[in-house]
């Protein structure tokens, strides 16, 4: 614990501290029974949607590639249950739109996994593959950033020419209230995560790694610190409980005191950040040849009967999780995919769990409603809490007035969409909604300008 008390770091600017509500921190990860039917969206990652390579009525095994990566920033999608492809159709997903998905119905016979996948629980420590092979395996396994951003991991591992990575940072911060998926994973699969970290270090050719963990998870800090005690180059960095500590740029600033330049990437300051969940997935892909077919999802809510952490097959309807956790409480106002700060309200519980679904949160009615928007009272609280040093009130007003050139000048593209501004606004102004709109418009204007 001495480690946790001394040497606690944080990012210097802004941030908020919402109620933590980590209801499921003590609940071990349970395996959720594979559903009878899954709908696997072909676009679960940032970048080009994968191209389906299976046809209707085709038999598939668990772990078989059903959609191929279409471009560099894209990744593979795998079957998550064995059975037959029922159809390829548009399905409502967590974006709130109906988008292409591959629907697989389970067969009557026992579950069948694709060849060459090691399903045992034995820890494989020796890394036999080389740098290129690891990156290839990560792509083949369809691994994306499991923290929620779903950026294809192989892209992050392919360091551009002329740049050199110095540090790997493993993100175990989990600063979103309610969510405990990464916390439980660190407690239960710590050994595997460390091996995963070593694999990532090998792929990036770095010899230093830092695991960042918020200090509200002392058991995880202790466990990881114990595991890394005789590990060369890997250390644990306890961090102050401050949202958005887990933001990539905030984490780099806190852990290494390096600042990612505006419009730049972490690699510009010699850092690559991966989530601990991603490290675990990389371990499974590289050492066990197991593609990303399941992930840990926290299902939680104040009025839930038994909030839990589940290991869920991707494509499972959210409803299955809700049922397994005791059903929807009567006064539920919103079902949110992700955490309460950055998550997105779902418009149906039939939406499938995707690679980026870190949690499902059921919020009671009284907390779900947005306050009525009032006028800006110029209190500048949003400016104080913005971890990127932006002026949210200004960006909102400029976007409303459609002055997009000024929105761009005021660095709207640096916004990390953490929602601290909307959270803190005493006038309940939808700051982030408008900033997102401004960001989107500015991005498309820039794209137009470059073409």
């Amino acid at each position: 614990m001495s480690l946790a008390v001394n040497n606690i770091k944080t990012f210097p600017m802004g941030g908020v501290h919402p109620a933590e509500n980590k209801l499921t921190a003590g609940k071990p990860i349970e395996k959720l029974i594979a559903p009878k039917q899954v709908a696997i969206p072909i676009s679960q990652h940032i970048g080009a949607p994968a191209k389906p390579i299976v046809e209707q009525r085709e038999k598939v095994k668990v772990g078989q590639v059903i959609a191929m990566s279409a471009g560099f920033v894209s990744t593979n999608i795998h079957a998550t249950i064995s059975g037959t492809v029922a159809k390829i159709d548009k399905v409502m997903d967590s974006t709130g739109y109906k988008r292409e998905a591959i629907i697989i119905k389970a067969g009557k016979e026992e579950e069948e996994w694709a060849d060459g996948i090691d399903l045992s629980d034995d820890l494989v420590e020796d890394i036999s593959l080389g740098k290129e092979e690891i990156i290839k395996r990560v792509l083949e396994a369809g691994i994306v950033g499991l923290g929620g951003a779903t950026f294809p991991s192989h892209v992050k591992l392919s360091v551009p020419k002329g740049r050199k990575a110095e540090y790997l940072i493993l993100n175990g911060v989990e600063c979103e209230p309610y969510l405990t998926a990464d916390h439980r994973l660190m407690l239960e699969k710590g050994e595997e995560i460390i091996v995963g970290a070593r694999i990532l270090m090998k792929a990036l050719e770095v010899d230093k790694a830092i695991i960042g963990i918020e200090k509200n998870k002392p058991d995880a800090i202790e466990k990881m610190a114990g595991l890394t005690a005789d590990e060369n180059g890997i250390s644990v960095q306890p961090l102050k409980v401050q949202y958005p500590q887990g933001g990539e740029k905030q984490l780099i600033k806190a852990a290494l005191n390096r600042e990612v330049p505006s419009g730049g990437l972490p690699i510009d300051v010699g850092v690559v950040v991966h989530n601990v969940g991603t490290a675990f997935a990389v371990y499974e892909a590289v050492q066990k040849n197991k593609p990303l077919v399941e992930r840990v999802v926290t299902i939680t809510g104040k009025d839930m009967k038994s909030p839990s952490n589940f290991m869920v097959r991707i494509g499972t309807p959210v409803n299955n999780l809700v049922e397994a956790a005791g059903g929807i409480p009567e006064n539920t106002g919103k079902v949110i995919s992700g955490g309460p700060m950055m998550g997105k309200a779902l418009n149906s519980v039939d939406v499938p769990v995707a690679k980026g679904t870190s949690g499902i949160l059921l919020i009671p009615n009284e907390e779900a409603k947005r306050g009525k928007m009032k006028v800006c009272i110029r209190c500048s609280k949003c400016v104080d809490v913005c971890p990127m040093g932006l002026e949210p009130y200004l960006l909102m007003t400029l976007t409303q007035k459609e002055l997009f050139e000024r929105v761009e000048e005021d660095h709207v593209l640096d916004c990390i969409e953490c929602g601290s501004c909307s959270f803190t606004c005493p006038s309940d102004r939808p700051l982030l909604d408008y900033i997102r709109l401004g960001k989107k418009t500015v991005a498309s204007l820039i794209r137009e300008r470059n073409n």
């Binding site: 159709d89 709130g96 309200a345 418009n347 928007m373 909604d433 997102r436």
Partner: protein, 334 residues
């Protein structure tokens, strides 16, 4: 008078003349020649600065007109043919007549046809809502109902109908400036030729879901059944992604397509009611039992109703149905 005052007056006068000389020199040296025709053309334009022509304002359009070698690419939708003739007259050029356009709303999913499936409590702004999710009804293509098109309209040619939750275009006021088309994040608004005698036919739906899914979300959604496509003799209708589209240039207003549309997605505007009615839509009959005798049948081609520009076929048939007992259809039968 003391000498100081005299001296002051003298020096300031000299300074004044000096400054005037410098200014005169600069003004004549750096004079920007501007074609006087630009001013003339600008005066001939409506000066609404709406941007409907694709230029930043009327002045810029006037400059473009004066600079252009022929006016075939330039058109002021607000002023229409008359204005363009005036402009051509000033510039001594020829200009072709263009068909006037009007904005149409390609969504008829009103509250009664399109059930709400969830609640939206975010910002009441179409673009924001559109960026967040598919909308509070099952149709992810349809109107969100926050009226950004209405806000964009500079001519008060649109309003939100509170009963249906959909925007309505007032035909007589619409100048086809394109503002609503660019404002709508869902591409629901479309500019279509006003058509001969102001009559036109279009598909009032942009739902690209498969038939079943579309129908489930909205009773009046185009299911892409292709019946209209088969019915059309002029190849004006194409069905793509489970959605029919009528090419206004090819459409001859023969009215064969609308009756075969089972979901009433095809709207006929400003047509007289049909004489033979293949089926009486029973849903419609219930709605408005009382109806004063306002013979729609006789002067129907000039139905440019102030408030109901988008009279759809259902209402047309309905009105005719209801008029029938009162009027005894004397004209129709004769």
């Amino acid at each position: 008078m003391s000498q100081t005052i005299l001296f002051t007056i003298g020096s300031i006068t000299i300074l004044g003349f000096l400054a005037a000389a410098i200014l005169y020199f600069i003004a004549s040296k750096f004079k920007v020649y501007e074609d006087p025709k630009i001013d003339e053309v600008e005066d001939a334009l409506p000066n609404t600065n709406c941007g409907g022509c694709g230029h930043p304002g009327c002045r810029a359009f006037a400059e473009a007109c004066v600079k252009a070698e022929d006016l075939s690419d330039l058109h002021c939708p607000v002023g229409g043919n008359e204005t363009m003739q005036n402009v051509a007259g000033i510039l001594g050029m020829e200009v072709d007549e263009r068909d006037p356009y009007v904005a149409v709303v390609r969504c008829s999913g009103s509250f009664e046809y399109r059930q709400k499936v969830n609640m939206y409590d975010g910002t009441e702004n179409c673009t924001v809502a559109h960026s967040l999710y598919g909308g509070d009804t099952g149709c992810q293509y349809g109107c969100l109902g926050f009226g950004e098109c209405v806000d964009a309209c500079d001519f008060e040619a649109m309003y939100m109908d509170e009963k249906t939750g959909l925007p309505v275009v007032i035909e007589d006021k619409c100048t086809a400036c394109n503002a609503c088309v660019t404002a709508c994040p869902r591409d629901i608004m479309e500019l279509r030729p006003k058509g001969r005698r102001n009559r036109r036919i279009f598909v009032s739906c942009i739902n690209q879901d498969k038939g079943g899914a579309a129908k489930k979300a909205c009773e009046v959604a185009c299911t892409g059944c292709s019946k209209c496509e088969a019915e059309c003799k002029y190849d004006a209708i194409t069905v793509e992604n489970y959605l029919a589209y009528i090419d206004a240039d090819k459409c001859k207003n023969c009215r064969k397509c609308a009756p075969v549309c089972k979901s009433n997605s095809i709207h006929e505007i400003n047509f007289p009611p049909r004489k033979e009615r293949p089926e009486k839509p029973e849903r419609v009959k219930k709605e408005r039992p009382e109806r004063k005798t306002k013979p729609v049948a006789s002067g129907a081609e000039s139905v440019t109703l102030e408030k109901e520009a988008d009279v759809n076929v259902i209402e047309m048939v309905k009105k005719a149905n209801e008029n029938k007992p009162n009027n005894q259809n004397s004209e129709d039968k004769a």
